[in-house]
């Protein structure tokens, strides 16, 4: 019995994770749903690998897409090699190949870029990123110019009759790879190298006085991050069967930064949240409105300003209150502030869309508005303003309740 409990404690979360990954297609199985799952799987691995740099190791990189892209390019080249039978193994190993290549690049670039963290590292990563992206357009043989290179994943030996022609098959493969990658990235945080990465992030000087070279520690996390970014790239190659310059340029590097940051740096689950969130925004929100990038930008800035630890951090914030059994006391104040906040949000979005639309009627939240009519504007602005006032009024109470909930009982600081 006790053993069972400990087992559940130890592995329950992982079993649940695997179950979710494998059961998603049972939930929604449309072609679109599957393609979204595939994106999520790739994004999760990529974002987690980025978190190894910034979250665990304190290295802000503006060029992480390089290792993702490199892994992807070699992945597609592997597909081509399998196709013209210069190598013979199942395509299910492509992510592994991609990972190795990502690691290789990281070994080379990390050897000089990890000397310092902070601004210097960030700038080097930026420069390297630009260089690789630029040369990818110049060296057509390997990168295929702006059209990129494309292959076909249905060649090579089948895996128990599975030829990976259908995206659903790829998804199950991706799910397994994602699961494995996640486990290994988690285990890495539990090793001396992983822990010292945190130590170096917190206080490089002190780390040197307990026997560790900060540079070596950074180098190791950097390589690990490159490896898993490469795995993600390999998954990309399998899913899309092509890859282009855009997958290793600054935009992709920026996107993964957004994912990791919005999700929550430093918390292992954070990047997973971020990856899922941004994938959904990219596929769903862009259907709602062509302003989705604007909203993404706003969301990101707000996160940086008000939730420096991201969504995961926001959840973890409540740990203390929960441990002290006072979480329930927060529900009411949250509602009091939350409702006007929601109204305010909807109001602002409506206004933005109203300004933006070119049609004579704007259909939003099931109601249709006419940009031409002045009353519409007045009402909207009034509502939004009122909501804002409501927030301002109720915020102090929330703060109070928060302190009350987190105040340590008895002595302490």
């Amino acid at each position: 019995m006790v053993i069972l409990q400990t087992l559940v404690k130890k592995f329950g979360i992982w079993v649940a994770y695997l179950a979710v990954l494998l059961l998603l297609p049972q939930l929604f199985d449309s072609i679109l749903a599957i393609s979204i799952y595939n994106q999520m799987a790739i994004a999760i691995v990529f974002a987690l690998s980025y978190n190894m740099l910034l979250g665990q190791g304190g290295m802000l990189s503006f060029g992480h897409a390089v290792y993702f892209g490199m892994g992807g390019f070699l992945g597609v080249h592997t597909l081509l090699m399998i196709e013209n039978e210069s190598v013979y193994f199942s395509v299910m190993w492509v992510p592994f190949i991609g990972g190795l290549f990502g690691l290789l690049c990281a070994l080379f670039i990390g050897s000089f870029s990890t000397r310092k963290a902070g601004t210097v590292f960030a700038m080097i990563s930026l420069g390297i990123g630009e260089l690789i992206a630029a040369s990818s357009l110049i060296f057509v043989d390997f990168f295929g110019g702006e059209a990129g290179i494309s292959g076909d994943r249905t060649f090579g030996p089948t895996f128990f009759g599975v030829d990976f022609a259908q995206n659903i098959q790829i998804y199950y493969l991706a799910a397994i790879w994602t699961f494995i990658a996640t486990i290994f990235m988690y285990l890495f945080t539990q090793t001396p190298a992983g822990r010292m990465a945190n130590a170096v992030r917190d206080n490089p000087i002190r780390a040197e006085f307990i026997g560790y070279s900060a540079r070596r520690v950074r180098f190791i996390s950097f390589c690990a991050a490159g490896l898993f970014a490469g795995v993600a790239g390999g998954l990309f190659a399998l899913n899309y069967e092509f890859i282009t310059e855009e997958n290793l340029n600054a935009a992709t590097s920026g996107r993964v930064l957004l994912m990791a940051y919005i999700g929550g740096l430093g918390y292992f689950i954070g990047p997973i949240i971020g990856a899922v969130l941004l994938t959904l925004m990219n596929t769903l929100l862009s259907t709602y409105t062509d302003l989705w990038l604007l909203y993404l930008g706003i969301l990101f800035l707000l996160t940086v300003m008000f939730l420096p630890r991201g969504f995961a951090g926001f959840i973890m914030m409540h740990q203390v209150a929960w441990l002290r059994g006072r979480l329930t006391s927060l529900i009411k104040p949250y509602l009091i502030t939350g409702l006007p906040a929601l109204v305010f949000l909807l109001g602002v979005v409506t206004l933005i869309e109203l300004i933006h639309t070119e049609d004579e009627t704007l259909s939003i939240w099931g109601l249709s508005l006419t940009p031409a009519s002045v009353p519409t504007w007045i009402v909207l602005i009034a509502i939004t303003g009122a909501a804002f006032y409501g927030i301002r009024r109720s915020l102090p109470q929330l703060r109070e309740a928060w302190h009350a909930a987190n105040k340590p009982d008895g002595e302490g600081n």
Partner: protein, 316 residues
């Protein structure tokens, strides 16, 4: 050949000085607050767009004066309500914040002004050839650009060396920590410097808009280059920024002007490669082809071999 040399120099000068107008603001901001402002080029873009809108109604010159002011105020507001908030979270958070800001501003510009290129024209007063050399005109407007940039540089130099605020800023550049103990209203100075820095970027945008075309991508084209300059010049060193700006400007225009390529280089060593070679692309490279990415190569090399930059004192 001579004509090419002369014009390459002139072009390099124009670009270099323009870049310096951005780099100087960026350096000031960094020196004071230790923030590398990723969104700096975005303020440059805002400058161009505001000037465009103003020029539609009040003409170019009004834009030249007011657009930078608007941008400066915006910058100050960003510092006051955005950066200051993120400050305690550390430099990485600040860098990420400005990164997000750049992202947001680009989207905002597309939201308010639309995505197509704007026909922002230089004033008719300056639509004549300053001088013609070897059949190529050097437009008065470019001369005007040089004049403005130099003017700004002198003004900046004067303020920094003569005025009281300038002295404080100087102190901040060399001893960032001491300023706080000087008993000046440091937050206010920060806000001011950020405002002025962004306003400088605004000026650059106003005068660059008509020649370099005003479109939503203009920030990204310039953005990382300015970064490169500040880092190469040495974080927090105005002189360094100045040298680096001219260096990059000239480097690029000369690289483009030149016609040498990998082959010529290899010929020097008497090496030659078949064109069906796997690396044929590499042997085929020409300097003009790679000119725009040379700065990044320079950046990486400098950071590896001299992380403090050409004239920088401190690394972080």
């Amino acid at each position: 050949m001579l004509d090419v040399l002369i014009f390459a120099t002139l072009n390099g000068l124009v670009t270099g000085l323009l870049l310096f107008m951005l780099a100087s603001g960026l350096t000031l901001i960094f020196s004071m607050m230790g923030v590398l402002n990723f969104a700096h080029a975005s303020f440059y873009m805002l400058g161009a767009y505001f000037a465009y809108s103003l020029s539609l109604y009040f003409g170019f010159w009004t834009g030249l004066i007011f657009a930078p002011l608007i941008v400066g105020v915006l910058g100050a507001l960003v510092e006051r309500y955005g950066l200051r908030r993120v400050h305690q979270a550390g430099h990485v958070a600040e860098l990420v914040f400005t990164f997000g800001l750049a992202f947001l501003i680009e989207e905002a510009v597309q939201f308010f002004w639309g995505r197509d290129t704007k026909s922002y024209q230089s004033p008719d007063v300056l639509n004549f050839a300053l001088f013609t050399l070897f059949g190529q005109e050097f437009s008065a407007y470019r001369g005007f650009m040089i004049a403005i940039s130099v003017g700004i540089f002198i003004g900046l130099y004067y303020v920094l060396t003569r005025s009281r605020v300038g002295i404080i800023i100087q102190a901040a550049i060399t001893h960032p920590n001491t300023v706080a103990n000087l008993g000046h209203n440091v937050p206010l100075i920060f806000m001011g410097v950020f405002g002025v820095g962004t306003a400088l970027a605004g000026v650059a945008g106003v005068i660059a808009g008509p020649v370099l075309t005003t479109f939503p991508g203009m920030a990204t084209v310039l953005g990382s280059i300015v970064f490169v300059i500040v880092v190469i010049g040495g974080l927090g060193s105005l002189a360094g920024a100045f040298i680096a700006s001219l260096l990059i400007g000239l480097l690029q225009s000369f690289a483009i002007a030149s016609d040498v390529g990998m082959e010529d280089l290899l010929d020097l060593f008497g090496i030659s490669f078949p064109y069906d070679h796997a690396l044929a692309d590499l042997w085929g490279l020409t300097l003009p082809q790679v000119a725009p990415i040379l700065p990044f190569l320079l950046l990486v090399l400098v950071l590896i071999f001299r992380p403090t930059g050409l004239m920088g004192k401190r690394e972080e």
